[in-house]
Symmetry: D2
Subunit: 382 residues, 4 copies
């Protein structure tokens, strides 16, 4: 009976691991432990912790670890706070495996704490290339992890090239696609009026509309306001009704937020609705309906491939992430962005492309975790 501890630090984290958590929870040979920390605890990021509990998971520890400020300094310090406290949480929970997701700073803290404490680490979504500090974190975590769950073939190959043993790499696909598949299977319409949340105009979702989801690029700290302004200017030129999402909490998010606020205050473009957060199922349905997703969110590339969403991906944040034909890449330049959106809107939706999995990642992960051999003492394969 292996105890598998999942540490969730953000809404994105949770979406990326929820299907695995479900599968672990009901698996006969596994016990699920849940630690919730960082922005997942905070009202201002939509209190993901409540979602987790409402989904039927019991929370074993809560870890307030975000130092306010949203600067590079506070991001590093927050990792430090996490690293100071996770060891005693792990000491108490005594997990047999720690399952960590992706590439955020909570991931790094989780990984280091487990590594020092000789707890085997399973890592999902490793091996991907993205072109920010997230990429360095992701590969660094790979060098600590004992079990790898890459989401795509490309990523699996890269993990092997980083010197990991082939027998520790399990290509399971992306657990976020599990959620997408489930949502698309069960619901085809919105429940209630989604525009009661957020602020701004109410859109008619049966007519063409755009979506904007743009986050700070930590290595380009200080340029976020310019970046979002170029995007919003292109949106304005297109003139379609639009849904704009607020940025995540990485260093520089305040810049993007300021850009959005300034744009909103100008009130040039009437038909826009702003959301701080959207329930995943609403977001997925919007991805299926939108004429084009604009910005630098990974969801356009991953979920977008499966759903067939037309995407305009801007700037370096998703640099080199494996992508399907649904994505057009452009620079932070309003005219380029405008042209690409125009092209996507005219083209319409794409066919589904399973490069990020077929919807069974979570079930596969649980099964593997229940019986895979684990070699604690790692060494590089070359």
């Amino acid at each position: 009976m292996r105890k598998v501890c999942v540490v969730i630090g953000s809404r994105a984290n949770y979406s990326s691991i929820k299907s695995a958590m479900k599968a672990i929870k009901i698996h006969d040979d596994l016990t699920l432990q849940v630690v919730v920390g960082a922005s997942a605890l905070l009202d201002r990021y939509g209190a993901v912790v409540d979602l987790i509990e409402n989904d039927g998971f019991q929370i074993d520890a809560r870890l307030y670890m975000l130092i306010e400020g949203e600067t590079p300094v506070t991001m590093a310090k927050s990792t430090g706070v996490g690293l100071m406290e996770l060891p005693e949480i792990f000491e108490r929970l005594k997990p047999d495996v720690v399952l960590t997701v992706g590439d955020r700073f909570e991931t790094m803290a989780t990984t280091l704490a487990a590594a020092y404490m000789n707890i085997p680490i399973a890592h999902s979504m490793g091996g991907e290339v993205s072109g920010t500090i997230d990429e360095s974190i992701r590969h660094a975590v790979t060098k600590f992890a004992h079990i790898h769950f890459p989401a795509s073939k490309d990523a699996a190959t890269r993990i092997a090239k980083l010197g990991e043993r082939l027998e520790d790499i399990y290509l399971v696909g992306c657990p976020r696609i599990d959620l997408v598949a489930e949502i698309l299977a069960t619901s085809m319409s919105f429940q209630g009026n989604i525009f009661q949340e957020g602020v701004g105009e109410e859109l008619d979702l049966d007519k063409p509309f755009l979506m904007v989801s743009q986050h700070p690029v930590t290595t380009e700290y200080g340029t976020g306001e310019m970046q979002i302004s170029e995007t919003l200017s292109a949106i304005n030129m297109i003139g379609l009704p639009s849904i704009v999402l607020w940025p995540n909490s990485d260093a520089g998010s305040e810049d993007i937020a300021r850009g959005i606020r300034k744009f909103r205050e100008k009130k040039i473009c009437k038909s826009i609705h702003f959301f701080k957060n959207l329930p995943t199922n609403v977001y997925i349905q919007l991805l299926r309906k939108t004429a084009c997703l604009v910005g630098n969110s990974s969801s356009g590339i991953r979920e977008g491939a499966f759903i067939g969403t037309p995407v305009v991906n801007i700037g370096s944040r998703q640099h080199m992430r494996e992508r399907g034909s649904n994505v057009i890449d452009v620079e932070h330049e309003s005219v380029q962005i405008y042209a690409a959106i125009k092209q996507q809107v005219n083209r319409g939706p794409f066919d589904s492309d399973p490069i990020y999995g077929n919807g069974s990642a979570g079930i596969q992960m649980a099964e593997i975790l229940s019986k895979c051999p684990i070699r604690l003492q790692k060494t590089i394969c070359f």
Copy 2:
């Protein structure tokens, strides 16, 4: 004029970077910044900070970060403390490059703090293989570093294989060898009686003697006392006068210390002297004189190759580290250890082998740091 900030966390750290610090300090186009933390500040580890000041370096910040306990929990927490405080130190010093050494937990804290703050990272002694958590840390740091200073050709190749750009990898040799070369060049005899420090018998250094330097293996936490007992039992069987060094502060050091204390209390073996720390120059001269170095210190493999010291290396700690013909590898088993020591003592000293450099690593590093191009935005090469 680039500002290069060096973070030193232990005696070993300092020995590994001192020649580079000297070269940076006197370089016209560089300014040296020095942060001293962790065990380098503590009396109980020989107050390395005083040594650093006595060597003429000015200290820009002191960082008490070790949580007492010497368990896996405290090792992780200590990294967290470092990570909480380094960001504000870097914010104040505003270095252009952070130069970090090796593979200890301070190294990880330093690297993460710099990475989040978009400060370019130069890393010395990356790419080596050792078979403990140190190895994971070392490779993880490589995935964050922008400039690599491997100490051997083998290590340089491995860094490239990890997906780093060839133009960022500079094979300079090991800066510790710089110190060895300098010491061997300037002094051929001990100043004063070295046995006034430490406790135990006074040895006649003109007759054959053994040296023991054995540290905890963090992934084998709990077995340290057994490990050192096997070694000391072999030493006892050999019957030669011996110098025994106390372990470093990694998780498990208390186990080794207990083993040494128990052995000492038995007082079977009369001619033994115990040192907490030795000045580097004394240590190097002892390496030149000893009939055999026994244990799991990296110095036997690195400095030992250059000096020609006969070495018996025990257990997994130096697993896969590139080594010359001066090293015999054995398990933690007293009979094996005994036989290997016997063979080395009979054989005598080896010829110098330059696999870890020729004594100019520090000067090369300073020169490279003063003019190398730095690309802040990293991405993997495959």
Copy 3:
């Protein structure tokens, strides 16, 4: 030449010490050191740090220390973060005296750090009674402080009763009154339209208007939303145009904020303007003009006494704080609040009452700090 280090953690902190900072800065025998931390660094609380720099003060250290969450847990943790980092800041700045203000958690962290490091502590605004955890902090700080600067006679007496030596107690008045005096002396009208900041209706300030400033009571955590709702309901009944300020960052502020948001969304009461922060001079002028200040801010009692503002003080937060005849105290109950506001609006402004000083507190503090004897070793006087 004594070095006096001031640690500022919030907007309120700054207003309470600014006149002393000015006087210290220009004093021949004193050097001013400034550490800015906690909410004073954050955009979301109006970036007080920029104000401080604009006022001509040089900042010696910045300390991000707030753990996000605004719960009792994060408030305690934030104090811990401050306490982890202030010692090394003090070690670097080597102040002769640390001057700390009032009763917030930054004050506690500052005081403990200085106390452990044997740095004499000067404390302003001690000895007051208020009836929340602030009061415990305030008296605890008194037990660590070496020099006391109470703001009122009542407070000075209480400090003496707590066992402090009479010769260490200097009744100087409240430094906030210094600012009030200065503002009232120099400007009698608003520069520009203050309603360009904040959201909501624009008020005609030449006609009667109310002001609301209500903060969470940490010992009544969980009741904040109810409390503000009662107040806003009374405001609504009165029907006068109103200015509503957002709460500070104490535990429970999210409850108050939610109450304000809900009220705002109902849009019953049209003529309301909401401010996150107001420049001090604008706030003071508003206090002079408002028909009544409603809520639980200390400013009504202190600045209000000097200015003659009619005040309705609600609930326990200012319990037992010395007050003048300008204040009516009521419970969190809308009908009571309504009646008291009615009475104050009808009565009109009061005469100035100097119970919190005459406007020279800062100058007195600097002079005393420059020459007072300091006895580091404290002991109680009974």
Copy 4:
């Protein structure tokens, strides 16, 4: 059924609360929760945590919080680490009352964490006067505590004078005396040879011998080595066999330890035995047998009064602590110390004096905690 959480940070802490813990554990209306942290977890201070478990207490949380260094900086930082982690421990354990002991830095961290979290605080051994930073901590804790358990009448009076309500003050005596009474009642001889622990000569305990227990005075940081040297010089002059105890872990302990080591290395005085720690029962029996206890330990004054031990108390550390006729006070000056020891040795043991209680403090505390009313909202009584 009230849950009472005790936080233990040192050996002294444990001795001061053990009898209360026993009584709480067996009380029908109370549940005991135990948090062990700071030096109580560390091998180097005798692993008090093992003692606690051997005494039959279950440990609910372990908190490594000591930053190594034993300087004023690390003492403050350690308090910060404690304060960062205790809130989440309390959040998990949800105690109804936190019971905290005395005046150490763990006490401060415990108190602040509980205070911010609105958990009622019971404080034992408050109200005493001692003349170091401990005194400031002790009185500051009083200003946060809701239930006071002073150990002497004098202390109870002082707590009342500090503005606490009489109905919250319960004069129960000192729980350490409970242990003394128990030990003296049950055992009259040593089990085995106590000199198998520690280093140095074996003493004949049936002949006159001295005991030395001297700790650093934090406000006199830097003078510890001189202080202990004066004492040891006096001991040397007396010429009686002696037992010397190592200092506690307060800032400056390294100075005292160095003084002891230097003295030991001189080997002037042969009949001395050095102990790092002594089991409480051994220590108490030694207090009954010794010709004189020399140093600045509180045990001479408290336990000494009950037992009748002749004591020479040196320097400021116990300044103003209520004492019986068994204590002679002197300065850090070897001749004075010598004369006082001489006088005490000649005089012989004193009669028992119950100023610190009669041995029932723990039982009284449990009974009171089970039923006393608690008023969370404190305010000063004047």
